[in-house]
Assembly symmetry: C2
Homo-oligomer: 325 residues x 2
Amino acid sequence: MATIKDVSREAGISIGTVSRVLNNRGYISEKTREKVYETMKRLNYQPNEVARSLSKKSSTIIGLVVPQIENPYFASLTSYIEHFASERDYQILLFLSDGREQREQELIEQCKKNRVAGIILCSGLFAVSNFKDLDCPLVTVERSLEGGTSSVECDNYEGGVKATQHLIEKGCRYLLHLSGVVGNIMPADKRAQGFVDTCEANQIPHIEAPFSEELYEKMEYIGFLEEIFAMHPDIDGVFASSDIIAAQVLQVCARFGKKVPDDIKIVGFDDIPLAKWTVPTLTSVRQPLREMAEMAVNTLISAKECNIVPKQIRMAVELVQRGST
Amino acid sequence: MATIKDVSREAGISIGTVSRVLNNRGYISEKTREKVYETMKRLNYQPNEVARSLSKKSSTIIGLVVPQIENPYFASLTSYIEHFASERDYQILLFLSDGREQREQELIEQCKKNRVAGIILCSGLFAVSNFKDLDCPLVTVERSLEGGTSSVECDNYEGGVKATQHLIEKGCRYLLHLSGVVGNIMPADKRAQGFVDTCEANQIPHIEAPFSEELYEKMEYIGFLEEIFAMHPDIDGVFASSDIIAAQVLQVCARFGKKVPDDIKIVGFDDIPLAKWTVPTLTSVRQPLREMAEMAVNTLISAKECNIVPKQIRMAVELVQRGST
DNA sequence: CTGAAAGCGCTTACAG
DNA sequence: CTGAAAGCGCTTACAG
C-alpha cells in the first residue's frame, strides 16, 4: 500500500506539503496541488488513518456499547447512530455488553485502549459511575449515569401517560402495566410512574408487573405472562414497556382465547418494525430513535471539539395507533 | 493518559524493556517484570492500541459490512461475530451498506484506510469482484464473491429441499415459494432450486414468486403477498425464503380468513427470534448462525496470520417445526 | 537480560 | 508557498 512517502517521492514534493494538500491546510499553489492529486490517484494512495490518529492524538472512531443487538430497539438505534456518524466521517466500533456489568467495564477499557473519539453507552440495567479517568466524551442513551458528558432520552413519563390515557379512552377499565426490570434505576422507569399517575387520576384499577433481569435478557416472557393472566383474568388493557413484550402478550391472549382488541387492548413501547408484523398490528409509543441517535452523535462530536454541550436532552414521544387498540 | 514513556521513567527502566514485558517477549528478569507491572498499575497505564497498530503494521480491528442491522438475521449474525471476535481480542468496526453497491465500495475503502485486520462482508444483493488491491483477508457470509479469501454459507439447497419435503409430508398439494430478489446471484438462490427439484420429484404443482429489491430493503411484503394470494387462492403450502416474509404471510392469511396451519401451512427460513413471537409460531429452516460466525472470524484471523484457509465453507441446516405447519 | 536507535506513516509548528 | 525536523506512542532487530 502506497504511503505518503511514496507520493512525496513520485511527485518530487516534500512530505509536509503532501500532507498539507491532503488536509487542505495552509497555502498551496494550484500547480503542486494538482501534481499531488494526480500522483495520489496514480498510486491509488489511501491515507493511513491509524498513523493520522496517532499523530493528531484524536481518532474518528466512536465506541458504541449496546447490551444486545438482537433486540430490535438497539438494532434500530445502532443503525441510526451508524448513519449519522458516517455522515460526519466517523466510524463505529461496536461492543455488545450482553447486559453484564463486568463486561461493560472491560469494553470501556477497550474503548480507552483504542483511543476512541468518544463513547455512546446505551440503556443498560445497572447504574455506572466509576468512569473517572475517561478522557473522552461519554454520551448515554436512555440511561441514567452520573459523571457522563451528556444524556439523551425520550420523555418516558409522557409516554406512560399517553399509552394509559389511550387505553382508558378506548374503554379499558382494569389495566396492567408490564414494567421494567426489578430494582434498577433507568429512565424507562418513569413510564411506570406515568401509568400509575394516569390510572389514579382517572380512578382506574390497575396492577404493575415488573420482571426479572433474566426474562429481559432472554426476551422470553410467555411463561411469566401466562401466570399473570391466569391470576388476573379480568384485565382488559395492557401497557407493555416494549413491543417485544407486547408481541408476546398477543400470543398469550391467543392461547387464553382473548380477542384483541375486542376483549383486551394492548399498547407497546418503542415502535420497532415488529409492531407492524404481528396479528393484529401493535399500537405503540414511538421513541424518536432517529432524532435521538442524531443528538447523541452530534453531542458527542461537539463535546470532543471542546464545545459546551447540554447535560441532558429529552425528546418527545408519540402514540402510533394500530390494530391492537 | 500515561504513556510507555511515563512508565519507563517512573520505573527507571528503558522503554524497550517495558515494551517487552508488555508483550511478554524475550527474557526479562522477574525483578524488572514486577517493577514494570507495579508501575503500570500505579499509573493506570493502558497501552495505546493505535500506536501499537502503526508500529506493528497490523491491527486487531475487523471491518464488518452488513446491509442492514435492523434485519434480525443480520443482527444475530453480527452479535455472534462480535462475540467470537471479542473472544480472540479483536474488535468490530461496523459498517451498514444499506444494500447500496456504491456505499459498499466506499465502506471497503474506509476499511482500507483504517488498516483493518480483515473484512467480513455479509450477504448483499449484488456480485462484487473488484477488490483488487485489498491487502487484507476478505471473508464473505452467505454471499457469492470472486476474489475473496473465503466464503461461508449454509447449505441453501438442502434447506429448500427440507422445507419443501416437510410441507409435502404435511399434506400440502399446491406450493408457493417466495424466493429471493430478481436477477441477483446469491447463495440463497439455491433454496429455490431445492424447492423446484423437490416439487418435481413429488409431482406437486408449484409456483415461484421472486420479488423486487425494493421490497427486500423495506422488509414490507404485504401488498405483494395480497396480490399473489388473490391470484392463487388454492395455495395450501408456502415456503418463504425468510422468516420476515413468513411472518407477513401469516398476516395476509389472517386477512384472507385462511387458518394456519389448517388451511395453509408455512415454512420460513433463518429461524430468527421473530419465528417464536408470531401467532402461530413459525416452522423455519435454521441456519447455524453461531457456527457460521465462528467460522468467519476464525478463518479471517487464520488467513491474516498467513495460514492457508478453505475457499468455501458450507454448513448444514436444520428444520425447526413449530405452529405454522 | 537490557538499552539505544531506527522505524511505523502521519501532522505541525518553524524557518525561509 | 514549501522544506526540514521533531514528535505521536509504540515495536523490534541489534549490540552489549
